[in-house]
C-alpha cells in the first residue's frame, strides 16, 4: 500500500497543493484514533448512567440529548424504533438495549468532511475526532453527515459536540454498573455497525475537490 505516503500530509497539509491552495489549509483527517468505546447490548440494563456521566462530569449538566453515547433512543423500542413491529428490541421488544457509540471513523471522516468550518479536528495523543467549539458555527451539517447519528448538539451553547474519549478514560465506561461498555484499541467498525440513516450532508466543494484529486492520484499511482 502506498497510502501511508499520503498520511504524512494529513491534518495540516494540502496547503501547497497547486490550484487548491487557500489561505487556510483545508483539513482532511488521515490519522487513526488510538481507541474507541464499544458496547454489549446483552449486558445493558437501561439505567442511562453512561449518558449522565458523559454530560454531568464533562459539561456540568444532566442532558441525555447532549450525550455522546446514545442509549435512550434505543431503550424502549430498539434501533429500528417503534415502527419495527415484531422486530422491536428494547424494553418493549426482545429486551436488548443497543448502545450507539462513535466509531471514530477512519479517513474519510464523514463528520469532519462535512464541516464547512473544519471544526472537527483530531488531537493527540488519542487522535479522537473532536469538535473544536471555537470553530464550530452551529450549522449542524455534521449531524446530517454521520450515518450512525452520533453527533450531539448543545442547544444552550449552539455548538455541536461528539465523543472525544475523555482523554483515554471514558466517563461512560467508568459509569456502567453492568460492565457493558469497554474502551478498546481502535478497530474499524464502519462495515460492522448497521447505519441509522443515509447521510444528507453536502461536502463543501473545496473538500470534495481534494478528495477527488487525491483519490484519483492514488488510483493512478496504484495503476
Amino acid at each position: 500500500m502506498k497510502i501511508s505516503g499520503l498520511a504524512v500530509i494529513g491534518f495540516s497539509a494540502f496547503g501547497t497543493y497547486g490550484t487548491l491552495q487557500k489561505k487556510e489549509p483545508t483539513l482532511i483527517i488521515m490519522e487513526k484514533a488510538e481507541g474507541l468505546v464499544i458496547g454489549d447490548p446483552t449486558l445493558c440494563i437501561g439505567c442511562m448512567r453512561c449518558e449522565l456521566a458523559c454530560t454531568e462530569f464533562n459539561d456540568g449538566k444532566a442532558s441525555p440529548s447532549l450525550s455522546r453515547i446514545k442509549v435512550s433512543r434505543n431503550m424502549n423500542f430498539g434501533p429500528k424504533g417503534v415502527f419495527a413491529g415484531q422486530l422491536r428490541q428494547g424494553n418493549w421488544g426482545n429486551g436488548l438495549i443497543t448502545q450507539d457509540l462513535c466509531l471514530q471513523c477512519p479517513h474519510p471522516v464523514p463528520c469532519a468532511n462535512a464541516c464547512p468550518n473544519d471544526a472537527i479536528v483530531v488531537r493527540p495523543p488519542l487522535y479522537a475526532r473532536v469538535v473544536d467549539p471555537e470553530k464550530c458555527g452551529g450549522c449542524r451539517m455534521c449531524l446530517r453527515s454521520c450515518p450512525w447519528e452520533m453527533i450531539s448538539f448543545d442547544e444552550e451553547a449552539n455548538k455541536a459536540t461528539k465523543c472525544f474519549l475523555c482523554n483515554g478514560k471514558p466517563k461512560c465506561v467508568e459509569a456502567c454498573p453492568a460492565g457493558a461498555l469497554r474502551y478498546i484499541t481502535w478497530t474499524d467498525l464502519m462495515d460492522r455497525v448497521p447505519l441509522r440513516l443515509v447521510p444528507t450532508a453536502v461536502i463543501p466543494p473545496e473538500k470534495s475537490a481534494l478528495c477527488i484529486a487525491c483519490h484519483k492520484n492514488i488510483k493512478e499511482f496504484q495503476e
Partner: protein
C-alpha cells in the same frame, strides 16, 4: 435561594374542563416543599376543598418530581402522584402513589417539576408534552385499549424516547383498585381511576433539555461516586446472601443474590453474576435479581437481565423470558417487574401442581403481569390476592354471590392452581363485570362494607396482614418491632416506607447494626434483632420519626426509598458505615441551595406535617390518635400464645405500644391524647398559616 440547578423551573397546569394550559415558576411557590409529594400535598392543601371526593372534577392529581430527578444522583427514577385516594376507607383522604421508570426524568428534561391536572374532560383525551409544546389530544381511539397498546400508539406519535404514563381499562371504568403505569412495568398504585374520572387516558412526555448542576462538576462527580460506592443490593442490603470471597458476613435473607454459578440464564449467551466485590462499580447491576429472590432459584434460568429505572444501577425490575407461556397462554414470553408486581398472578392461588416455586407458579406470574400491567389493576400490596383467597376458601364467595354468577367461574381450575383462571378473573375486575369483580375492585375497606363484613374480622387475622383503612401493613412489627408498627399508623394507604427495613434487614450482624444505630439515633437500643424485641424506648421513636421523614424527603427529591437512606454500606474499611447526609450533599450541589442534614430533615418534617394536616382537615376530627393512628388486633396476638418480648414472636404489647405512640408524638411535638400536632410543631417548620387554618376549624390541640 437558588434556581441555578436541580429544578427544571416550571410547574405545568392543565385544566381538562376548560382546556387551559399554563405554567408557573417552581421555586417561588414550591421550593420549601422541594418537589414530588411536597408539591402534591401543597397543591391539595391550597387548592382542593376538604369535602372533595376522588372522582369529583374538583379533585386534582399531581405528578410531582424533585430536584434530583433526571440527574446522576443514583436511583432518581421516582414520580410521586398525589391525589385523594379512592380505596381509603371509610372516607377517602390524601395519599400518593409512586412509580419508577423513566417518566420523572423525561418530565424534567421537558422543563417541568410537576404537572397539576385539574377538571374533567368531556370525552377521552391524552396529554402530549414535548418540551414547551403541550397539547390536549383526542384519545377516543385509545379508550378501551390496554396500557401497552395505548403506550405504543402514543410513542408512534411522539417518538420512541417518549415516556408514557397510561391507565388501562380498570382506570377507565373507575375501578378504585387501578394503577397508572409507565415504562412497561413501573406502576403507581391506587390512582388509575382518578385519571379515568378525568377522562385522561395517558400523559406522554418527551424532553430534550438539560438539568444544570449548580455546584462544581468535579464535586458533583465525587458526590455521585461516593453514593455509588456505598450502595448495596436492592433494599440497600449490604451483605451477600451466600458466602463470597470478599465478604466477612453473609445473610440468607439478603437480596444481594449474585454468586459464582448463578447466571442470567436467558441472556444470549448466559451471563455469570459472579462474586460482585463491592469495590467494583462495574458489577453493581449483577448483585440483585428480584425474580430469583421472589420466585425462587428456578427464575435464574429465565433471567434475561435486570431492568433499571432512570439512573439506577440496581435494576430491581428483572426481565425474564419464559418461552413456554407463549404457546401455552398466548402471551408474550417476556415479562418484567419487581416484588409484588412479579408475584401478582401467583398470589391468587393457594397451591400449584408442582409446588409453590415450580414452573407453573412462574407461569402464573407471567400471566398475572401480562394481564394486570395491561388492564391496569392494582394489588394493594398483595391485599387483593389475600382477600380473594380468604373469601373463596372460607366459603364467603359462595354465600355472597348469586348462584349463576358463582358458577360462571371455573373454581375447579382455580383450586387446581391453573393460571388460566386469571384470564377469567382479571378482565372482569377491570370491566366491573359481575358482583365479585366489582366488589374486589373497590379495595378491602369498601369491599367489607359492601358485603356487611366487620373490618374487625380482617384486623384479627394475622395471615391477611390487613392493617387499617382499606390497606395492609408495609414493613411493620414483623421487621422493626414498635418502630415499624408505629410507622404503619401514619398514612392513608400502606405506609410505603423502607427507611427502617432497609437498615434492619441489611444483613449485618446485630452488634454492627447496634453500633451504627447508636451513631445515627443516639443509642444501640433503637433496634432489636427481628422477633427478639425489647420494650419501647425513646430511640425507637427517634428511628420511626427519622424513617418517615426520610421517606417524604425521598419522595420529594425523587430518590428511591427502596434504596435509601444509605445508613449502612458494604464496606468493611468504613466499619460498614453508610452516610445519611448523602441526600443533603446531593441536594446542595444540584440546586446550589446549601442545606445540611438537619436542615433538610426539617424540610422533610414540613412535608410530613402537611400530610398530617391534610389528613386532619379532611377527617375533620380531633381524635386522630384513636380514629386514625390505629393498629389491627393481630399485632397484639401471638398464634402460639408466646408473651410479648420473648424470642420468636413479632407480636406487640398494647401498653408498650401506647407508650410508644406517646414517645413518637412527643418527638414530633404532637399532643399525646389527640394525636394533633401542636401549633408550635407547625410554626417550627414554617407552617403557621396551616396551623391558623386548622385553629379556625378547632383542629389544633
Amino acid at each position: 435561594m437558588s434556581g441555578k440547578g436541580g429544578w427544571a423551573g416550571k410547574v405545568l397546569r392543565v385544566n381538562l374542563s376548560t382546556g387551559k394550559i399554563s405554567t408557573e415558576p417552581t421555586v417561588d411557590r414550591f421550593k420549601d416543599f422541594l418537589g414530588g409529594t411536597g408539591i402534591g400535598y401543597k397543591v391539595i392543601w391550597d387548592e382542593v376543598p376538604p369535602e372533595t371526593k376522588p372522582f369529583d372534577a374538583a379533585n386534582k392529581i399531581i405528578f410531582g418530581v424533585g430536584p434530583l430527578a433526571g440527574t446522576g444522583a443514583p436511583c432518581n427514577g421516582r414520580t410521586a402522584i398525589t391525589s385523594l385516594w379512592p380505596t381509603c376507607w371509610p372516607v377517602p383522604l390524601v395519599a400518593s402513589g409512586h412509580m419508577g421508570g423513566h417518566f420523572a426524568a423525561q418530565l424534567k428534561y421537558a422543563g417541568y417539576d410537576a404537572i397539576i391536572i385539574e377538571g374533567q374532560a368531556d370525552s377521552p383525551v391524552w396529554l402530549s408534552i414535548s418540551d414547551s409544546e403541550v397539547k390536549i389530544k383526542d384519545a377516543r381511539h385509545l379508550w378501551g385499549e390496554g396500557i401497552r397498546r395505548a403506550t405504543i400508539a402514543i410513542s408512534q406519535e411522539m417518538g420512541p424516547e417518549a415516556s408514557v404514563a397510561a391507565i388501562g381499562q380498570a382506570g377507565e371504568n373507575l375501578v378504585p383498585m387501578s394503577v397508572i403505569i409507565n415504562s412497561y412495568s413501573h406502576s403507581a398504585g391506587g390512582l388509575g381511576a382518578v385519571m379515568g374520572s378525568k377522562k385522561l387516558k395517558a400523559i406522554g412526555v418527551r424532553g430534550s433539555r438539560s438539568i444544570a448542576i449548580a455546584g462544581p462538576k468535579d464535586e458533583w462527580e465525587k458526590a455521585v461516586k461516593l453514593h455509588l460506592s456505598l450502595l448495596g443490593a436492592n433494599n440497600q442490603h449490604v451483605v451477600p446472601s451466600s458466602p463470597q470471597p470478599w465478604a466477612e458476613y453473609y445473610s440468607r435473607g439478603s437480596r444481594w443474590v449474585a454468586s459464582r454459578g448463578r447466571k442470567w440464564g436467558a441472556a444470549a449467551p448466559p451471563i455469570e453474576t459472579g462474586t460482585c466485590d463491592p469495590h467494583d462499580p462495574n458489577r453493581i447491576a449483577f448483585r440483585t435479581n428480584n425474580a430469583a429472590y421472589f420466585l425462587g432459584e428456578m427464575a435464574w434460568k429465565y433471567t434475561v437481565r435486570g431492568n433499571s429505572c432512570f439512573g439506577c444501577p440496581i435494576s430491581c425490575h428483572t426481565l425474564i423470558k419464559v418461552p413456554s407461556v407463549s404457546a401455552k397462554y398466548g402471551i408474550s414470553e417476556i415479562g418484567q417487574n419487581t416484588c409484588s408486581g412479579l408475584t401478582f398472578g401467583k398470589s391468587f392461588f393457594k397451591t400449584f401442581p408442582d409446588g409453590n416455586q415450580g414452573e407453573i407458579s412462574i407461569e402464573a406470574c407471567m400471566v398475572g403481569m401480562s394481564l394486570a400491567d395491561d388492564l391496569g389493576i392494582w394489588c394493594n400490596y398483595g391485599q387483593l390476592q389475600r382477600d380473594f383467597k380468604k373469601l373463596y376458601y372460607d366459603g364467603i364467595l359462595k354465600e355472597k354471590l348469586e348462584k349463576t354468577e358463582f358458577e360462571s367461574y371455573s373454581w375447579n381450575i382455580y383450586e387446581a392452581g391453573n393460571p388460566v383462571f386469571l384470564f377469567e378473573l382479571l378482565p372482569r375486575i377491570a370491566a366491573k363485570d359481575g358482583e365479585l369483580a366489582s366488589v374486589l375492585g373497590l379495595g378491602t375497606g369498601y369491599m367489607l362494607e359492601q358485603w356487611g363484613i366487620e373490618e374487625e374480622e380482617w384486623k384479627k387475622n394475622l395471615d391477611l396482614r390487613y392493617w387499617k383503612m382499606g390497606h395492609p401493613k408495609h414493613h411493620a412489627n414483623e421487621d422493626a418491632g414498635q418502630c415499624g408498627a408505629i410507622m404503619n399508623t401514619q398514612y392513608n394507604r400502606d405506609v410505603q416506607c423502607h427507611s427502617h427495613t432497609n437498615f434492619i434487614r441489611n444483613g449485618l450482624p446485630l452488634d454492627i447494626q447496634k453500633r451504627l444505630a447508636k451513631e445515627i439515633w443516639g443509642s444501640a437500643d433503637a433496634i432489636d434483632a427481628v422477633a427478639a424485641y425489647t420494650p419501647m424506648n425513646i430511640y425507637k421513636a427517634k428511628m420511626a420519626k427519622w424513617s418517615l421523614l426520610r421517606k417524604e424527603l425521598h419522595d420529594s427529591l425523587s430518590l428511591c426509598n427502596w434504596m435509601g437512606p444509605v445508613a449502612a454500606s458494604p464496606l468493611k474499611e468504613r466499619g460498614y458505615r453508610g452516610d445519611d447526609s448523602l441526600e443533603s450533599l446531593l441536594y446542595s450541589l444540584a440546586t446550589g441551595d446549601k442545606k445540611g442534614r438537619v436542615e433538610l430533615d426539617q424540610v422533610a418534617e414540613r412535608i410530613f406535617l402537611l400530610h398530617r394536616a391534610l389528613t386532619i382537615r379532611e377527617m375533620g376530627q380531633r381524635q386522630i390518635r384513636t380514629l386514625h393512628d390505629t393498629m389491627p388486633e393481630w399485632v397484639f396476638v401471638d398464634p402460639l400464645g408466646k408473651p410479648p418480648f420473648t424470642p420468636g414472636t413479632i407480636h406487640m404489647d398494647k401498653e408498650d405500644i401506647r407508650k410508644g405512640l406517646d414517645m413518637f408524638y412527643q418527638e414530633l411535638d404532637w399532643d399525646c391524647s389527640s394525636g394533633l400536632p401542636k401549633r408550635d410543631a407547625y410554626k417550627k417548620v414554617g407552617l403557621s398559616d396551616v396551623a391558623a387554618e386548622l385553629a379556625k376549624k378547632g383542629l389544633l390541640p
